[in-house]
Symmetry: C2
Subunit: 121 residues, 2 copies
């Protein structure tokens, strides 16, 4: 598959709220994930599809997703970017907020081997 | 300056239509520019601030910019991304179109040393 086709698969799944299925289907087992900011008590960089899915579960446990726009994929070579805008309610205090970020994905052998998340911290 | 501050300078200039000033002020002399697609008769990758400015002049000569949204910067480490949406009229045939792209910038010693443009080709 082309980089764009992999990207389109990810975007289509995420547009339908199937972010976890996207990770399960498209992430390489040893994917490297790099956050713009280190989550509390953890490094900004982590490794492994299982770790990425676990982090996603924790994020979903902390935030209710009211809606999301998923814009992309925008490809260049073996990489593509997607612009996410999440409409969220933090479950702990019912705070409503938006999280907008650009995700940069690197593809190798039809799998995503690296993801870098760009956002204001 | 932080990566975010460099990114904010670029965004502020571009929001005011001062894309060329942004290049002159913020680009390193030997910046590497990587397009998603190779322009006619040229490689996708080019080198040098002067080359980048020359390409920008050619782009502006071919397209009238009716408006642009400039969204960012979204930083991560020594890199930041900006989402551009240009409202353009191609001068040759008066065709009106949008060009949306994600730009990924790499900063070193307070200058942008690399730019990668992501868009559908």
């Amino acid at each position: 598959m082309t980089t764009k086709e992999i990207g389109q698969k990810l975007v289509d799944l995420c547009k339908n709220g199937k972010n976890r299925e996207a990770m399960e289907q498209l992430y390489a087992p040893d994917i490297v994930s790099v956050e713009a900011a280190a989550p509390a008590g953890r490094p900004a960089e982590s490794k492994g599809r299982d770790t990425a899915i676990e982090r996603n579960k924790q994020w979903a446990a902390a935030n209710e997703v009211n809606g999301a726009t998923v814009d992309g994929p925008y490809p260049n070579g073996d990489r593509f970017t997607v612009v996410f805008d999440f409409d969220l309610t933090r479950r702990s205090d019912k705070q409503h907020y938006h999280q907008k970020e650009v995700a940069l994905y690197t593809v190798k052998n039809d799998k995503i081997v690296r993801e870098d998340f760009f956002y204001s911290t």
